[in-house]
Structures are given as C-alpha cells and as structure tokens.
C-alpha cells in the first residue's frame, strides 16, 4: 500500500516523498526488491550517481543486515554501468535474504551478462524454481547453456518452456540455433521460419533465419541467401541520412575502421591480423570499434596496430555509427556480419563513405544496400557468381584472407596410416555443417576403405545427449558405429596436436570449413572438399587453391567420395605431401603477409578512388545552385594534399 503510494509519488515527480515511502517500506519488509529499486530511482532523481551511492552506503552502515540497501546499491551500479560492483552487492543481498526470488533473478541476470556461465546457471535454476512464470529467466538460462556448449540441456529447457508458454518467437529462435548446432538443419530451419511467422515485424527473426540458412543442404544456395538478405533489407526501412562528413582527400593517409567483436583469438583474428599488421603505417591508419573486449595475444597485437581503439560493447547501433563518423573513418570494414555479436545495422546509418564486408560470418551476400564492396578473391566469387551479390566484388589478387599460424602449434607428426596400416579420416568442423548428404558421402568412403575410421571432434560432442543423437544419425546414414569416434573439445594447442592422428581431413558441405581448413593444412593434413555456389561453400576451394592444391576439391558428392578414396589409397604420396605441406603453406600467399598487404592496400585504394570519382561526378552534376545550397562541412583535409572537388 505504501509502496504503491511511493511509486505514484515518483511518477508525479515528488522524489523526496517517494524516497521516504520506499525507506519506510524497506524498514518493514527488508527484502522488498521493488522498494529498493524505487529507492534507487528516487535517489537518482535527487542526486548525482556518486552522491546517491554515498547515501545508500550511509544507510547500509546504519542498518547493515537489511537486504534492501545492497539491492538499491546494485541497481545504482547497474545504471552507472558497473556490473562487477552490482554483482558484489547482489551477492551480499542474497546472503542477507536467502531464497528471495527477485534477488536470485537479478543476480542470475548480471552473472549471465558478465559471462560467468557456471555460477549463473546455478543461480538461474534456483530463480526459475521460485519464479516459474518468468520467461526471461528461461531464455537467459538457454543462452548460458548455449555458451557452455550443452545443447541437450538447452533443448530440454526450451522444449519445457515452449510447452508452458507457447510458441514465443524468442524461444523459437533459440531453439533453431540449438537444433542447427546439433546438425538437425531441417528442424532448425522450420523453427526459424516459425519464429519469423510468429514475430510481428523486426529484423531479429529474419537475422536468426539468415544465420541458420547457409547450413541447410537444400536451401543453402546463393540465390536463396540473396533473397533472404533482401528480405532483411526490406525490413530495415528507409535509409537514414549519411553520417559521414564531406569533403575528403583523394590521396593521403586512409583511415580504415574495423567493426568487430572478434579482434582476438577468434576466426576473424586468425584470418585478418597478419594482413592488417603488414599494412604500411604511413599510408593506412587503423581504427578499431570493438564490440567484445578480449584479453589475449591476438587482441594485444590488434591493439598495437590500431591507432584508435574504442570499446563499444553495449552501445546502440546509432551511437556506434556516430562514433565512427566522428572519427572520420574513410573505409569501414565490417568483420561481424549476421553472426553472433555482429552489428551489421551500424552500417545502415552510413558512418563512412565506403563500407566493405570482409571475414566474419561472411557466408553470402548481406543483401544490404549500404554495403558497397565484398572483399573476396577469384575462387570465392568467380565472375559468373556476381549476380548473387548485392555488393560489388573487390577481388584480391591471391586469397581473400591471410592466415596467422599459431606460434604454439606443435610440429607435424608422421603419417599415422604408415604405422596403423589404414587411413584415419577426420572432421574437426562444427556439427552444424554436417548434413545428411555429408553423412551419406562419408558412409560411401568408409565402405570403400575397410579398416579406415573417422574421427569427429567438436565441443558440442562433449555432452552425452548430443553424442547419442549423433550416433542415431550415423546409424541411419549407414556409417559403421565401431569405426566412427566422437570426441569433445580440447584447448587449442591440444586440438592442433590431435591433427597428428589424422591422415586426411574431410570437409563438409554446403558450408565448408574456413579456419579449420587452414589449421588442418598447417598441421600437415590435406583436406578433401566440395565447392558450391555460395560464399561459404567455397571457403575450402579458396584456401586450397591458394596453397596450390586445387585438385583436392570436388564438384559433386560422388566425385567427393571418389576423390577421398583415391587419395587414401596412395599412402606414399600422402606422406610426402604431409611432410612438405607446412613449408609449402608458409611460402604460399596464404601465409605471406607482405604480399597480402600489398594486394589489400591496392584494393582499398581502388575502392576509395572509385568513391572519390563518384563523388566528383555527383558534384559536377549538381551544378552551381546546388553548390550554393550545400554547407561547407568541417574538413579533415591534410594541408599538403589536394582535395576532392567538393563544395568550397
């Protein structure tokens, strides 16, 4: 009753009386979380954040064992953007008032946001028991289990939630991701379509569908992906006015922006770092807009190369775009795409004149009109595939990436088949890429080679339920269970060492391996692959052609199986290839950073020249009257360089 009165007072703007009322409620019911939140809001209305915290601290000192004060403090810390301190206060509140569902829920939420999955799971499960009607908690628990690679538990949780709450779009989207990660692409696509149908507009469900589509054996083609991208573009709505300021210098030092959450030990890091480091400092200035902060060696190397480093984290798309425009970035390279943690819609605000899509969920065209170029090569996008892309192809002379071999990679082990007598095939790819057609091809290969075996290693196979489900699928596809080994994840160094037990790597399709192919080649294991027509279907073709092994790529599943069998029968050639593969790769353009950097520099310059030409033409067409109307913008011209012919 008093609580309601206090809340009304705050709504009316009488913060002081709201404060009194909330304090009164807390003295009577110490663990009233709503009153605590109200107190926090009232204090914020009256004082600065630090002063509000000080006041709460004083009250807590007077009444130490009341749970309301740490709750209020946690709320203030959360608003101030200090999650660690909020978690600390919530832990105290939980100790002071054990069993309170609100506290548990808040604590679980903060722990999940901080990435502390193990602790978050325990707390969230308790909270769900106490508050069974809260959908957000279940969703949050699903996300925590996803990050821990426990798909079986996650699906169980989601199924029970759907049974209770119905077909909520968020639950369906998570379910789609979980099913996809287990390799059940059909069910995943069905769930994603249901989520699209169930959500009333908005791009989230469409992006989720786009994330699941490339893996699908029947629908993962370039044309379908193009249509899906164009649906997203249509959903985005009208294009806002561009944020970047004009005019710009045609020659001179280019400022390249990198928008990504993977600037660290992540496929984006491994495939882009060497090339970016080798770009000459005098001609290119790098600015990084980091969506997820990482503390590892690759992140440190990125940090050492980039002159500007902005941690964006939880900011909104518009805020990030404003920051990029304020820094005066010339060419913005998106390294996130529609993948996890990516923010493709930042580019919708046009913060930079030239916007390029590169590595990072680069499985097809984005479909967005705001992205001008797709950084690619002649194998990924041969000229006849240009019709599948809304962007223009910016082809690099060699491959589209430059691989950084891990410095801690173990030496190449001798061929296991020489000792064992029969070939060991391996696939260390994500289970989402393994489709029924792939399993059928593998079954044919194992049938043709008695004694051979297949090793599948991926982190989701660490859970028994997923392994069981996969075993059923293997049996259904005709793979002999005794000759297929299912292994869980390993730390990176041990994963590379595990390639020592593999003779030939088998790449799945339609979504082929990217970084996995590079790692296998570095560890001396050649890869048999199949090339499709979407961008992600041709990753393996690009890497293998770059290293000089284009004959290891097939075009149909039958020729794929035949190729694998043929290679497996020629053990001496295989051994010779294995020995020479790492030096061959070191010498190839795939690992040649200076050469890649020259190509990349030329490509970026040509994209910039193209924009400058377009801008010149637009200006000359605009004519004198338009020139009078345009305001001269604040320029970033370096004094010694000539500028684009812009409005004076």
């Amino acid at each position: 009753m008093e609580f309601a009165a206090a809340r009304l007072a705050l709504h009316r703007g009488e913060a002081a009386s709201a404060l009194e009322g909330a304090a009164t409620v807390l003295t009577q019911r110490p663990a009233h979380a709503g009153a605590a939140r109200l107190l926090a809001e009232a204090l914020l209305a009256l004082h600065e954040p630090t002063a509000a915290l000080a006041e709460v601290a004083v009250r807590a000192k007077a009444d130490p064992f009341v749970a309301g004060w740490p709750l209020a403090a946690a709320q203030l810390h959360e608003i101030a953007g200090d999650p660690a301190a909020a978690i600390a206060e919530l832990r105290t509140a939980e100790m002071l008032a054990p069993g309170e569902a609100e506290i548990q829920a808040a604590l679980g939420r903060m722990l999940a946001a901080a990435g502390r999955g193990a602790e978050a799971e325990a707390v969230l499960r308790t909270a769900i028991i106490h508050r069974p009607t809260d959908l957000d908690l279940r969703n949050l628990l699903a996300t925590v289990l996803w990050k821990a690679n426990r798909l079986g538990a996650m699906l169980e949780m989601l199924d029970s939630a759907i049974a209770e709450f119905g077909l909520h779009p968020t639950l369906l989207m998570n379910r789609a991701l979980a099913l996809n990660a287990r390799g059940e692409q059909d069910a995943a696509l069905a769930a994603a379509d249901a989520a699209v149908a169930g959500s009333e507009g908005g791009t989230a469900a469409l992006v989720n569908r786009m994330a699941v589509l490339p893996y699908h054996p029947g629908q993962g083609h370039a044309a379908v992906l193009l249509a899906a991208g164009q649906d997203i573009a249509a959903e985005l709505g009208p294009v806002p006015p561009p944020l970047h300021r004009r005019p710009r210098a045609r020659r001179g030092r280019l400022r390249i922006g990198l928008l990504s959450g993977g600037l660290g030990v992540h496929p984006v890091g491994w495939l882009t770092l060497a090339g970016l480091e080798a770009l000459p400092e005098a001609e290119f200035e790098l600015a990084a807009y980091v969506l997820k902060s990482r503390q590892d060696q690759l992140a440190a190397r990125f940090r050492a190369r980039c002159a500007i480093w902005r941690e964006m984290g939880e900011a909104e798309d518009a805020t990030i775009a404003a920051a990029i425009a304020a820094d005066g970035v010339d060419v913005l390279v998106d390294l996130g795409g529609y993948g996890e943690g990516g923010r493709p819609f930042v580019l919708h605000h046009r913060p930079a004149p030239v916007q390029v899509k590169w590595v990072g969920a680069q499985f097809s065209t984005t479909g967005l009109p705001c992205i001008d170029w797709m950084l690619t090569d002649r194998w990924e996008t041969p000229p006849e595939h240009d019709c599948f892309y809304t962007e223009r192809s910016l082809r690099l002379p060699d491959g589209y990436v430059c691989y950084t071999p891990p410095p801690y990679a173990p030496p190449v082990a001798p061929l296991p088949a020489s000792a064992r007598g029969a070939v060991t095939f391996g696939c260390f790819n994500n289970l989402a890429k393994v489709t029924p057609a792939v399993l059928a091809a593998w079954a044919r290969i194992l049938a043709d080679l008695p004694g051979s075996r297949l090793v599948l290693r991926t982190p989701v196979l660490g859970e028994a339920a997923t392994r069981e489900a996969l075993r059923h699928r293997l049996a259904a596809a005709g793979l002999p269970p005794g000759r297929v080994l299912l292994e869980g994840g390993l730390p990176h160094r041990d994963l590379l060492a595990a390639y020592g037990g593999i003779d030939i790597a088998l790449d799945p399709f339609p979504y082929t391996g990217g970084l996995t192919v590079c790692e296998a080649l570095w560890m001396g294991v050649p890869v048999v692959a199949l090339a499709g027509d979407s961008f992600c279907a041709r990753h393996a073709l690009s890497h293998l052609s770059n290293v000089g092994l284009p004959d290891w790529v097939a075009t149909t599943p039958e020729s794929y199986a035949a190729l694998a069998v043929a290679r497996a029968r020629d053990l001496p050639a295989l051994a010779a290839l294995r020995e020479g593969l790492r030096p061959r790769m070191q010498a190839s353009p795939l690992c040649d950073a200076p050469r890649f950097a020259r190509g990349l520099a030329q490509a970026l310059r040509s994209a910039w020249q193209d924009w400058c030409d377009g801008a010149d033409q637009a200006d000359s067409r605009a004519g004198a009257s338009a020139r009078a109307a345009i305001q001269p913008g604040v320029s970033r011209i370096s004094p010694s360089e000539a500028s684009c012919a812009g409005p004076a």
Binding site: A16, L19, E20, A23, T24, T27, L46, V58, R59, A60, K61, A62, D63, P64, F65, P70, A73, A84, A85, I87, A88, E89, R91, T92, M95, L96, E281, Q297, L298, A300, R301, R303, A304, R305, C306, A307, W309, P406, P407, Y408
Partner: protein, 628 residues
C-alpha cells in the same frame, strides 16, 4: 517511523544492530573467505563491511578487509585496516606479511621491510615471507640482501616460475647479469607463457650492455606472439642503443598503444614518430629521472657533463663582485635541480637560501643527501614559479628547457620571480634556424636561436650573453653541438709518466733547474702505499727545494719533510689518533722512523759529489727503479 531526507543519526554513534539470524555473521564471514580465496575481492568487500563493527569479530574481519582492499588497490584503506588487524593480533605472521605488501605497494619501504622481517622472524621456514622481504629489499635497492632472501624463497620452491623470475630480476638489478640471464632463460623455457618474462630477459641483456642480444631476444619474443608493451619498449630501447632509430620508432608506437596510461612511452612514441606535443608531460619526466636517479651522476660524469661548471663560470663572469668574494649571491632558485650538481658548483658563492625544484622524487632524494639545498620542492617548474613569491638573484635552469617546447610562459614567470638586476641562466639544445622548437628523437626539444631571442624579448629579459658550448659527449656524437653534429671533445692533457718532473715545472718561480736529484713523480705514502698527488706546484714554505742543501741541517730537514708521513693519509690519521689499534708486528711502520734506517740512499747522496760522473750500474732497457 519518521525519516527525513537527512539522516536521523550520525553513522557510528550507535552500535550496529546485531543480525536477526545468529548464524548469519558466521555465514557471511565464511562466504567472504571463500570469495577472497577465489580472487573475488570486490564481492567479498560488502559482506566484510557489514561485519566490520560487530563485537568479537574485529580482528578476523579487519585482516580480511585489508586483503580485499589490497586486491582492489585501495591502498590507504587497506593500510588502515591492516593496522587495526595488527593492533588486535600483534605477532601474527600472516597479518604482518599482508601489511608489508600493502606498505610496499604504497612506497613505504622502511615500514615494509620491518614488517616483512618480523614475519620472517616469526616463521623462519615460510618461503612466502622471505619472498616478500626480498621484494621489499629489492625496492630499497639493497640488492645483496634481496638476493639472499629471494634465493632462499627460490630454493624452497625451485619449480615456481614466479620465484624464478623474481630472483632473476634481483640479480639483474644487482648487476649480476650472467646469473640473471641463466635463471631467466630457465624460467622462460619452462613457463613461456608467463607474462613479462620475455621482456625481463631482454631488459637484462640491455642492462648488461649487449644491445644486439637484447634486440634479438625481444624480436624472438614478438615472433612467438608475445605482444606486450614491455617487450616492444625493450626492443625499441635496444634498437636506439644500437643506433637504429628508424627501426625503433614503430615499436615505441606499439608500446605506447598497448600501455595508454604510460606517459613515458607516449612521449617517446611522439618523439619517434615526429608528432610533437607542446611539452614533455610531467609523467614522462618523472618516470625518466626516477629510473635514472641512482646512476645519474656516475653516468653524466663519465659523459663529461659540463653544465654546472659552465654556470659557475658564467656567474663569475657576469657577477664579478660575487666572484671576487666581496658580495654573496642572493636567493638562488634552481629549476630542474636534479641531484643538485648546480648547487655543488655554486656552493661557495651562496649567501642566501638555495631552493631546488624538480619533478622526480628519486633525484630530489639524491640532492637532499648533499645538504646544500635549503628547500627542495617536488613540483613542475611552471607551477613552482607561480607559487613562489620570492625575488631571486639567480634562477638557474640547467637542462630543463629541453623538456619544454614552448618557452614563452616559463620565461615570463622567471622574469616575474627575478629580483631587479637578477640573473637567469639556462641551457638549451640548439635546433635548426627555421623552426621555433622541435622534438628530437631522443625525446628532448631543441630550440632555434631566433625563437629564443623572441621569447626573451617578449618576457622582458635582456640577453647578456650567448655561448655555444659542448655540454656532454653523446653516443651519437651530436651532443650540444651546433646543427650538423660536430662531435664534442673534452680537452684532455696527458702527462707522460716518463717525463721528468723538472721539465714540467718550468713555470714555477725560484725553482732550481737541476736535473738531479730527481723528485719522485709520485710519492707513495709509506703506510698505505697509495700514490700521493703532488700537493703544490712550485716552492712553498715547506718545500724541499727551498732548503739549503749543503749542510747537515738542511739535509736533515729535507729528509724529514720528504719522509714525513703523509698527513692526508686517512689510515695514518686514524692510527695516530688512537682510534684504530696498530698491528703488533715487528716493524712498527706507524711511528715516524729515524731517517738512517730507511733512507741510506739519501745519506749516501749527501756525500756524493755533484754532478754524478759514474754511469749507473743498471742495465740499459731495464725498467726504472721504483721505490717500494
């Protein structure tokens, strides 16, 4: 219950309400301990704050609070909590160790050493306590003792990479570079992922003087993927030491980017890449000279640093009354006093207090040890000049303006703080004529002469004298010479050891030009056998040469003067004063000897005719006889 927006009771005036649940305090304490063990001090702290004032738990809670606050780097509060904890339980070695670490982090070295030593004495077998004591001694630059204790800690747990690295660092700072290299190589081999070990190894090689090896080690670490600010910085310094300034620039930039709070690296990166700021930041100057302070004077003297002497000569030239001793120098302000070399140079001319200003605490400590400065201020010179109210007769700014780009403001402030007729002496590095001021690759600014004239005129100072001097020898040969890098040379006068003394004493008056008997070039003290320099050139009242030779009295006096014990020999003095007992050996070298027993040659010489006709019996080519 009535509550206004103020608070009805002041905190701390009432005892805290006890928790309703009796076991809650215990549970909070246990949970806080678990969290601290799990390295979560931020989460433990609110719980400990609530238990703080409960009766009966003060000691246990205080020490846990101290640990939590130390983990959060809130050092003042941690120190207060640790003091409370030790007041509760004085002899507890764990509490003493924690307070030692807190004090060490705050820079209170003597207190940290006391506490750590007490902890070691309480539990002599604990290697952790010895490690803390070793670290404290290392901070205090007592290297041998630090090596002893860190060695003990290492021997207790040889496989621990942390103890290996600390011991290696102690060896490196103590100057024992081979031992340091060995243990650091071992540490890096077994724990290559340990942060900082690669940089430490390269730094050790650099301090040992092997810049090439340091560059190789740091480059290898970078190739291995170790991307740390310290590795880039060490590699850049090694390349600079090897003379490869162009190669060092990208590494300074990378180091500055990886450590954005480090002003030292930021300034060097700006200098190396040519993006100049207005002045070197306070942090850069402080960091540079704090690290340089212990070996500053030795290094500069070996480089032939001349600024203090040049300042003194300028004072003598421009203030002849002071030089002649008729007047004393008024209040002197020494900007950028460093270790106080300018104070030493002017020490006998001072009449009024000498005040020194510097940004580096380490340098000021060295200056304070000289006992010449009335006041030493840790401040930036602009701020110090603004705060100062006195009218100084002399403001000396030796090697300070090279850390400033724009000089207008500081020159104006100097004029305001000079007494009428006061003198400002400063040294700058000369830059090229066109540009006003330029940041060189060494991190110092160079100023053009016309810019200096403009600034002086704008400040209202009249230029009395411009002198171009070589300030010091630089490794690159471009010391303070004019643009073009003429190598500066010290005027050296060598005296051949074979040249007879009489030839050199040509200028002396009343000196008989006799070839014989020859005076010894270097007399040796007969108790300590140290070569004694010639006290005075030319005859003085006590000189041997002023005596009559031909009679017995003259000979006797000459022998006594020649053979008198050297009163400037410290060991003789201490023995004569009785403070040190003389050895009880047969020959008592301490007492003045009668001449006959020891100086038979001189006795024979008395009767030898002049000049000597007999050739000496010594073989040709033999080395000249040396008196023992």
């Amino acid at each position: 219950m009535q509550m206004d927006t103020g608070f009805p009771m002041a905190p701390g005036s009432l005892p805290p309400a006890a928790p309703a649940d009796a076991g809650l305090a215990e549970r909070l304490l246990d949970r806080a301990r678990l969290l601290l063990q799990g390295r979560r001090p931020l989460e433990a702290l609110p719980m400990l704050d609530r238990l703080d004032r409960l009766p009966g738990l003060e000691g246990a809670v205080a020490i846990l609070r101290a640990e939590a606050l130390f983990g959060l780097a809130r050092l003042e509060e941690a120190a207060a909590a640790a003091d409370t904890a030790i007041a509760e339980g004085p002899g507890d070695p764990h509490r003493l160790q924690l307070r030692a670490r807190i004090r060490l982090a705050r820079g209170e070295r003597p207190g940290a050493i006391d506490d750590a030593a007490a902890a070691v004495m309480a539990v002599p077998s604990d290697p952790g306590a010895k490690a803390v004591l070793g670290a404290a001694l290392l901070e205090d630059r007592r290297f041998d003792e630090a090596v002893y204790f860190l060695g003990k800690a290492f021997r207790a747990d040889p496989a621990n990479p942390m103890s290996q690295a600390r011991l290696g660092q102690a060896f490196m700072l103590a100057g024992r570079h081979e031992a340091a290299a060995e243990i650091m190589a071992h540490c890096e081999l077994h724990a290559p992922a340990m942060p900082g070990i690669a940089a430490l190894r390269a730094q050790n090689a650099l301090l040992a003087g092997d810049a090439a090896l340091a560059a190789t080690l740091a480059g290898a670490a970078l190739a291995r993927g170790v991307a740390e600010a310290s590795v880039h910085s060490t590699l850049a310094h090694a390349l600079v030491a090897a003379g490869r300034l162009m190669d060092a620039a990208p590494h300074f930039t990378a180091a500055a980017r990886l450590a954005p709070q480090d002003h030292y690296l930021a300034h060097l990166a700006a200098a190396a890449s040519g993006t100049a700021s207005d002045r070197a930041t306070d942090g850069y100057v402080a960091a540079l000279f704090d690290g340089y302070a212990p070996r500053f004077e030795g290094a500069l003297l070996s480089l032939g640093y001349r600024v203090p002497g040049l300042f003194r000569r300028a004072v003598e030239r421009l203030l002849p009354a002071v030089a002649a001793g008729e007047a004393r120098l008024g209040p002197v302000l020494d900007l950028g006093c460093g270790t106080g070399l300018v104070g030493v140079a002017l020490s006998d001319l001072l009449g009024d207090p000498l005040v020194g200003v510097d940004l580096s605490r380490g340098m000021l400590e060295q200056a304070a040890a000289k006992g010449l400065y009335a006041e030493l201020r840790l401040a930036e010179i602009g701020a110090a000049l603004r705060q100062d109210t006195g009218a100084h007769a002399l403001i000396a700014a030796g090697d300070v303006f090279c850390y400033l780009g724009r000089l207008e403001e500081v020159l104006d402030l100097c004029r305001q703080r000079l007494a009428p007729g006061g003198l400002l002496l400063f040294s700058v590095e000369r830059g090229p004529q066109g540009s006003a001021w330029q940041l060189g690759q060494s991190g110092r600014y160079a100023h053009a002469p016309d810019y200096l004239e403009t600034c002086l005129a704008a400040a209202g100072l009249a230029a009395l004298e411009w002198r171009e001097e070589d300030i010091r020898l630089d490794a690159g040969g471009a010391g303070a010479g004019p643009d073009g890098g003429r190598p500066c040379r010290r005027p050296l006068r060598w005296r051949s050891p074979r040249a007879p003394a009489w030839r050199l004493a040509k200028d002396a008056t009343a000196r008989p030009s006799r070839p014989w008997p020859r005076a010894r070039r270097s007399r040796r003290c007969h108790c300590c056998c140290e070569p004694q320099p010639r006290a005075t050139a030319g005859p003085g009242p006590g000189s041997i040469w002023a005596l009559p030779w031909h009679n017995w009295a003259g000979w006797w006096r000459r022998c006594r003067i020649w053979n008198a014990p050297r009163t400037n020999c410290p060991s003789w003095r201490s023995r004569m004063s009785g403070s040190v007992p003389s050895p009880g050996c047969g020959v008592n070298r301490n007492a003045p000897q009668p001449p006959f027993a020891r100086h038979w040659r001189a006795t024979r010489a008395m009767f030898r005719p002049w000049p000597p006709s007999r050739p000496s019996r010594r073989k040709p080519g033999a080395s000249p006889k040396r008196r023992r």
